[in-house]
Amino acid sequence: MHPFSYTRATDTRQALHAGRDGGRYIAGGTTLVDLMRETVERPRTLVDISALPLREIMVTRRGGLRIGALVRMSEAAAHRGVRALYPVISQALELSASAQLRNMATIGGNIMQRTRCTYFRDVTAACNKREPGSGCAALHGVNRTHAILGTSDDCVATHPSDVAVAFAALEASVHLMGADGERTVPFADFLLKPGSTPNREQALRPGELITAVELPALPRPLRSGYLKVRDRQSYEFALTSAAVALHIRHGVIREAKVAAGGVGTVPWKLTAVERQLIGRRPSDALWTKAAEHAADGARPLQHNRFKVELLKRTVERQLRIVGGGK
């Protein structure tokens, strides 16, 4: 670990001030501290934002949800409003990490977490995300867990979050605050695909702070759920995952929100699958047909070809679990 200084912000203004001067925000610390120990992250200054008043979960007037950036994963998962309105979010959170980590990690930190790509986390390996221009060791390396969607020749690392997949599916938005004021960014624009600049991961301006994630009100009744496919049953990142929310009225799917995890450089919104579903009646045949489009555009690597088929089957299974069928 490299030496660093540490300050604790008591209010938002103070935090933004320290952030503008190059300080790195830290809340639960479950990603950043690990990476500092590995010397992947070498911040000069840490600004602890844990004391900021961003720990509220509010049901919005229209029936959406606003989750404060410092709400712990475990708090969000257990929240009655979250459980009632968006089971997909509770499930994604509860299938993440371990109980200990969920008690520390925050929602804002969760969507900021960095990839599990082993080459990124090993400072002696080539990684464009960690060291722009050094190359991508994963592209032709051991890449079983890497992305098949949204990749570039410069980076094939997956975004590791589960709840971000639910956020992507539900078309959440991210509330940000900077020295110049507040703004809101659609979730789809918040996390960036690597392209030729994999070191740029979020659409954050220097010193900007996440204050909340907002889920839009969706037509009710809404059934939703999250499926995580992984080698072991707990405490592991997804090989593939699917977040599905369906609004079915009079036997017809009126709204479909679907996204996949473990396969994309960012949580992967499956618009082609959604299009197949809307206006149709739930059936096993429909789930299979729609899921056929789950891996559209996939670019598999040497060790992760199986993810193409596994992704389709994961989405098919979760459509059936949420939408009904045998």
Binding site: M1, H2, P3, T39, R116, T118, Y119, D122, T124, A125, A137, H140, G141, V142, R144, V229, D231, R232, Q233, S234, Y235, E236, L239, F306, E309, L310, R313, T314, E316, R317
Partner: protein
């Protein structure tokens, strides 16, 4: 000598050191608080093959708190004498010498060590050391083309009968190549060493399974007398075989302490545990079987390849099961090690035997399927009457009982031999089984037993307790043999100044150390009895010594418990502060019996028919291991090994990037071991009995055999569930989609 009443032995007692462990009072190596200790951190090579061309230490030296840095540039004087005591080390090749030259033999090889006042300063300074290399392309993949031709050593061969002819004329023929990936031990406690020099004397606190082995190796490396080295290791937080050898970091800690003239603590990082110590080698195991239509295996041809390092040829007992598990008349085996630019492999639970069992027991399951014979019946038909290798009778071999008992207890009759015939929603359900064998090792052992005037006893041996519960089971033996309660007997271990013990590995600790303790306690009890019957003032005066037993610290006439006295009374009256004896165990020669432990493991799995995920539903192990001294701890061993087997079968895989020899999952987030959610209902059954040919206490060893056969039982269950015969471990979703 009247047999002692059995009270503690066979009782399901909890660990005597359990409270210390759960309250954090048990001191593992890095926990020892040594006055004036400073901290060492190893800088390891980032290339797998080549030469070190420069070491820039300027930034590191400038860090506050840094006390020194050692590399090959300092030419540290180390004797590296031959160590005839290191019989566990590979017979061929030479151990890694630290900091003696500029050659890099594997990625992760120690190239320097930084010592600083604090751990943080040492870690940071180690990060700042810049090492430059003249790197060459490494060879780390035993499956790559061209690799076998590099092997300078001829293979080990075994042959009986005419295997080629027998195979050619066999009615049923099978052929398969089984690939077992490299596994790492991943014990919770990292390997660690604290070294302190007091003049010419070296004291080392070390994570080790063999204190006297570590003592002898340090003496050989530093060119000193073994009497001047003391190794202390009272608690070991899991080792699974990786603490049997003395690894380079132990030398480095002692070297740094000598150079800096301060006690030095060195703890390997989790990542360094993938390079700095050993691992279970990867195997390619080609097996051809020939059989009659009735399932009698007539021919078995084994072609075995395993990885090793470029500097040592590590071999293990992978050939044995293929020679003696079944009565096969015609057998050929060739076992070759493939030298690569990697560190040397080592023993890992069920070493060799469990790797062979995966191939053999998978093939037997395939043969059962091909011939339409039930897998259990098939094994019964191939049961040998004597050891086929040497014609010796078995001391005890109750494998058929294990098969029958297990089949009943597991509900084997409910298994449908037709694959894919049982379903539960999206899950395909399958059952599988596999047999196992592991030889009963026994070695010379000694123990000191002392009974104090207060009526408590102290027993000492230099052995270890890496988790199986040596503290507890030896105390149970001693308590009964001395006629004392568990609370009044203390067993101390883990110190090379205690009476010598063999390596705490190979399932031999109870057989050797237990028998030596039994002997010492018997002698001491008899000495006390003799003292009493010859003492005119004793109520036992004149009684036949053979009629006296001891219970609860009181000696009495067996048929008349009222007549007697306590150890305390006896010793006080005779003005004795204590009685002391030395127990020994010397194994009888191996020439009369073939001695082995046996297992049958049963597994029921569910496989998601679309997603390819394998989930365990039930497991059962049935064991012929002789006498069970400590049933609760035996269960810990058996259940733990089945959990380890789930890891080997479904999860564990050391993944190397062969472009540069880097292990890409050298951490516990990416190297998957089972978590609680992966583990189903597990049970263990031990056949009641003992093997007195093996040793006086009748044990055959437990810790290794419980691992042998677990992975093939699971793979066979996967076949029964899906119809897919997976020959590569671990079995992951992509093999079953």
């Amino acid at each position: 000598m009247s047999p002692q009443p059995q009270a503690a032995v066979g009782a399901p007692l909890s660990r005597v050191d359990g409270r210390l462990k759960v309250t954090g009072q048990a001191k593992y190596t890095a926990d020892h608080d040594i006055d004036g200790v400073v901290h060492a951190v190893i800088v390891d090579s980032s290339v797998a093959r080549g030469r070190i061309t420069g070491i820039d230490t300027r930034a590191a030296d400038a860090q506050p708190g840094v006390l020194g840095l050692i590399s090959h540039l300092d030419k540290p004087a180390l004797a590296y004498r031959d160590n005839p005591g290191a019989w566990l080390d590979p017979r061929s090749g030479e151990r890694l010498h630290v900091f003696q030259d500029d050659k890099v033999r594997f990625l992760g090889q120690p190239v320097a060590v930084v010592v600083a006042r604090t751990l943080e300063a040492a870690q940071h300074a180690a990060d700042l050391v810049k090492v430059s290399y003249d790197a060459e392309k490494p060879s780390t993949d035993m499956s790559a083309s061209g690799v076998p031709e590099n092997d300078p050593l001829p293979p080990q061969n075994y042959v009986r009968g005419n295997p080629e002819d027998a195979l050619a004329s066999a009615v049923v023929k099978l052929e398969g190549t089984y690939r077992l990936t490299r596994n790492h031990h991943n014990a919770l406690e990292p390997h660690a060493t604290i070294a302190r020099w007091d003049g010419e004397k070296l004291t080392v606190w070390d994570k080790t399974q063999w204190t006297v082995g570590a003592r002898d190796e340090l003496a050989a490396v530093f060119g000193m007398s073994a009497e001047n080295v003391r190794v202390i290791s009272p608690f070991v937080g899991g080792a699974f075989g990786n603490g049997l050898r003395t690894w380079p970091h132990t030398t480095i800690a002692a070297l740094a302490a000598r150079q800096i003239r301060r006690p030095v603590k060195l703890v390997l990082t989790r990542e360094q545990l993938y390079y700095g110590v050993g691992y279970r080698p990867a195997y390619e195991y080609g097996l051809r079987l020939g059989s009659t239509r009735g399932g009698r295996v007539t021919a078995a041809l084994h072609r075995i390849r395993a990885e090793t390092s470029s500097y040592e040829h590590y071999v293990e007992g992978v050939m044995n099961p293929g020679q003696m598990l079944y009565a096969t008349p015609h057998v050929r085996q060739a076992y070759r090690t493939v030298p690569l630019d990697v560190n040397t492999p080592t023993f890992m639970r069920g070493p060799g035997w469990s790797s062979a069992a995966f191939a053999i027991e998978s093939a037997m399951d395939e043969l059962a399927h091909e011939t339409g014979i039930d897998p259990i019946e098939l094994r019964l038909r191939n049961e040998p009457q004597e050891d086929p290798v040497n014609g010796l009778p078995w001391s005890t071999r109750r494998l058929t009982e294990c098969l029958r008992t297990g089949a009943r207890a597991f509900g084997w009759h409910r298994r449908n031999p037709k694959p894919r015939s049982r379903r539960d929603g999206d899950w395909l359900i399958g059952m599988g089984m596999a047999s196992g064998i592991y030889d009963t090792l026994r070695m010379q052992s000694e123990a000191r037993v002392r009974l104090d005037a207060d009526g408590t006893a102290l027993v000492q041996a230099s052995t270890s307790d890496m988790g199986p519960g040596t503290y507890t089971s030896v105390t149970q033996l001693a308590a009964d043999a001395l006629g004392l309660t568990m609370r009044t007997v203390r067993f101390e271990l883990g110190d090379s100044t205690f009476p010598p013990s063999p390596p705490h590995g190979g399932s031999q600790t109870m057989a050797g150390v237990g028998s030596a303790v039994q002997d010492g306690c018997d002698k001491l009890r008899q000495e006390a009895i003799k003292l009493a019957v010859e003492d005119e003032r004793s109520p036992l005066h004149g009684v036949d010594a053979d009629d006296i037993v001891v219970r609860g610290g009181r000696l009495h006439v067996k048929s008349n418990p009222a007549r007697g006295e306590t150890y305390r009374q006896l010793l006080a009256r005779n003005s004795r502060t204590h009685l002391e004896t030395r127990g020994t165990f010397t194994p009888s020669g191996d020439d009369r019996y073939s001695m082995n432990a046996y297992s049958v493991t049963f597994a029921e799995v569910a496989v998601d028919r679309r997603l390819g995920l394998v989930r365990m539903r039930r497991m059962l192990g049935v064991y012929d291991v002789g006498r069970i001294i400590s049933p609760k701890l035996a269960d810990s061993q058996a259940l733990g090994a089945m959990v380890g087997g789930v890891g080997q079968a479904l999860l564990e895989h050391t993944a190397t990037d062969h472009r540069d020899g880097r292990i890409v999952n050298a951490n516990l987030a990416d190297y998957l071991v089972p978590v609680n959610a992966d583990i189903p209902d597990i049970k263990a059954i031990y056949l009641d009995g003992e093997d007195l040919h093996a040793d006086p206490i009748g044990v055959k060893g437990l810790g290794e055999i419980v691992k042998v056969g677990v992975a093939p039982a699971i793979a066979n269950a996967v076949f029964n569930a899906t119809g897919r015969r997976v020959r590569d471990l671990p079995i992951t979703a992509e093999a079953l989609l």
